[in-house]
């Protein structure tokens, strides 16, 4: 049986190996290992180092905090990757702590710690592990009934990437799940701490960087109309109607997305928090008007704590995995023909996006239906 230490050592070794390999590939090959976004973060950090706004870097759409953290990149090029790797390992740590709380096998954490998608993303310099770490630690402290810590971490996670706001209803309900009253002391405390920190950070950075900060970090994600091909069911419709009615179709994605997230928060949270948040993540991703491979890490991070609470056979899990991989590979096949071979295969990509949507929908429904009702268990302070 692999122990916790062996699992962590294996996770560290594979990440350090890929970090070194990535540096080597970047220096020797035309095709770079490092994610393009990493260069964006680094360039923004350089602007900050020069006393300028990180938003001078075109396509930098993150909090200035990220640029601040990565300032040492200009002295140690892989500094940021090290930070993201540490966050990756902290995700593993909190997954293990959560599994311990539920008396589940710690080995489930290997579905994240030794997941190629997870270690590939952090070693390529994607910052998602930072948000994942903040989110998992929020869940842990919520489970431990530590409202202050949970509130601060949740406020930070929404500040870093706006998407964890989708869990706000579920967290709000979970904080005092024994109570039926909408407004309770603990709920208000959690809301004031997390919301207060979030708003305070917005205020501080708005004072420093002005409108540019608000627009690039948050508003852009709401008004974004990306007409380029992506996994979203809506990409082709948005492209074809870009010049006349794309806003209507944007709403077509937004309304069911948020209606379902609120519906699940209200009816599922108290019975199984983990299944609810992974379901919300699925809904957010598949109903989003833009969907890229980067989004998949959001639910992969949650899988280790969700899987033990779902009554599905091993065979069913394998079928789910195969369905997901095949539908994604099918999309990538057509994406390659359009992007790299310049073939006009927009309809085929839309069909592939539809099949990917259906496969994700089926997986989501299976997860919801097979979720266990988890007895209320809040650890003592």
């Amino acid at each position: 049986m692999i122990g916790r230490n062996s699992l962590f050592i294996a996770s560290i070794v594979v990440r350090i190996f890929l970090l070194v390999y990535g540096e080597w590939q970047d220096r020797t090959m035309d095709v770079k290992y490092t994610d393009l976004d990493y260069q964006v973060y680094s360039d923004s950090a350089k602007y900050v180092l020069d006393g300028k706004s990180p938003y001078l870097r075109h396509t930098y759409r993150y909090t200035p905090l990220l640029a601040y953290i990565l300032i040492p990149n200009w002295y140690i090029s892989f500094w940021g990757k090290l930070i993201f790797i540490v966050c990756d390992l902290l995700c593993g740590y909190f997954l293990i702590k959560l599994l311990e709380l539920e008396n589940e096998s710690l080995l489930w954490s290997s579905t994240f710690l030794l997941n190629p998608i997870a270690f590939n993303m952090s070693t390529r310099g994607s910052s998602d592990s930072l948000t994942s770490f903040l989110l998992l630690s929020t869940i842990y402290f919520l489970k431990k009934n530590k409202i202050w810590q949970a509130g601060i971490l949740y406020g930070l996670s929404v500040h870093f990437r706006i998407y964890p706001i989708i869990y706000s209803f579920s967290f709000y309900i979970w904080v005092d799940k024994e109570k039926s009253s909408i407004f309770t002391y603990k709920r208000l405390k959690f809301t004031i701490i997390s919301g207060g920190l979030f708003l305070w950070l917005i205020f501080v950075f708005w004072i420093i960087y002005g409108w540019e900060f608000l627009y690039e970090t948050y508003l852009y994600h709401f008004i974004r109309k990306d007409s380029r091909h992506n996994f979203s069911l809506y990409f082709y419709i948005l492209y074809l109607t870009y010049n006349f009615s794309a806003k209507i179709f944007g709403l077509l994605a937004f309304i069911p997305q948020w209606a379902l997230i609120i519906y699940l928060s209200l009816f599922m949270t108290k019975k199984n928090l983990y299944s609810t948040i992974i379901a919300e993540t699925f809904i957010f991703v598949i109903f989003n008007k833009v969907c890229t491979a980067q989004y998949f890490i959001w639910y992969i991070t949650l899988l280790p704590i969700v899987i033990p609470k779902i009554n599905l056979s091993f065979k069913k899990w394998i079928t789910i995995l195969l369905f997901w991989i095949i539908s994604e590979a099918h999309w990538l096949y057509w994406g390659y023909h359009l992007e790299f071979l310049g073939e006009s295969v927009f309809l085929q990509i839309w069909i592939a996006s539809s099949l990917f949507f259906i496969s994700n929908l089926w997986i989501l429904c299976e997860i919801i239906k097979a979720s266990q009702i988890v007895p209320n268990k809040i650890a003592e302070n």
Partner: protein
């Protein structure tokens, strides 16, 4: 109509122009557009006729609204200067023409490459490819002479078809409705589980 759709890619391949050249008494210029997807490479070679001469050359590069150059991808050793920010995410219908300069001090032959990208162009009703042009640059030689490369590249770009709108709209809405009901039904099944004591 179907025959036109079928042969249009063949016509485009025939019409595509991937190399442009310019030649006069002081320099020769050749440029090749390499690649078949949305991202292409512009390979350029400039040769001074007098091999012992050292000259300042500025290339004034036009970037039509149908294309974009990501200023972060142009190598620093070309000393690029962008007169305005090029938004790399807009489709052609919302973009404008841009220019930037490449500033070089060269002796003899000089070669370089930088990437250029085709923007998503407006869909057509039923022709799956469009031809888009990329003009050659103006070459400023020793501050006082300007030569214009009159050749231009012709490249084909795949575009979406508006005749697909009915099927895509209906298909998307239908899938959305099925999805919403499936999720509500699944959640309903879950919430009616009996809580274990």
């Amino acid at each position: 109509m179907n025959i036109i759709v079928f042969i249009s890619p063949l016509l485009i391949i025939t019409l595509s122009q991937n190399i442009i050249t310019f030649d006069n008494s002081v320099l020769s210029f050749s440029r090749e557009l390499i690649g078949i997807g949305f991202t292409k490479q512009l390979y350029t070679k400039i040769s001074l006729k007098n091999p012992s001469e050292k000259a300042f050359i500025t290339l004034i590069e036009p970037v039509p609204y149908t294309w974009f150059v990501d200023q972060e991808e142009v190598p620093d050793y070309l000393n690029p200067k962008f007169s305005s920010l090029i938004d790399i995410e807009l489709p052609s219908s919302h973009s404008t023409n841009h220019t930037f300069t490449i500033n070089l001090e060269i002796t003899g032959d000089y070669e370089f490459t930088y990437p250029i990208h085709m923007r998503y162009n407006d869909p057509t009703y039923d022709v799956p490819y469009k031809m888009i042009k990329l003009p050659g640059p103006q070459i400023k030689y020793k501050e006082n002479q300007i030569f214009t490369v009159n050749d231009e590249f012709m490249a084909e770009i795949p575009v979406g078809l508006t005749k697909h709108i009915p099927i895509v709209v209906m298909g998307t809405i239908l899938l959305e409705i099925i999805a919403v009901f499936s999720i509500i039904l699944a959640a309903n099944k879950f919430t009616h589980h009996i809580i274990p004591k």
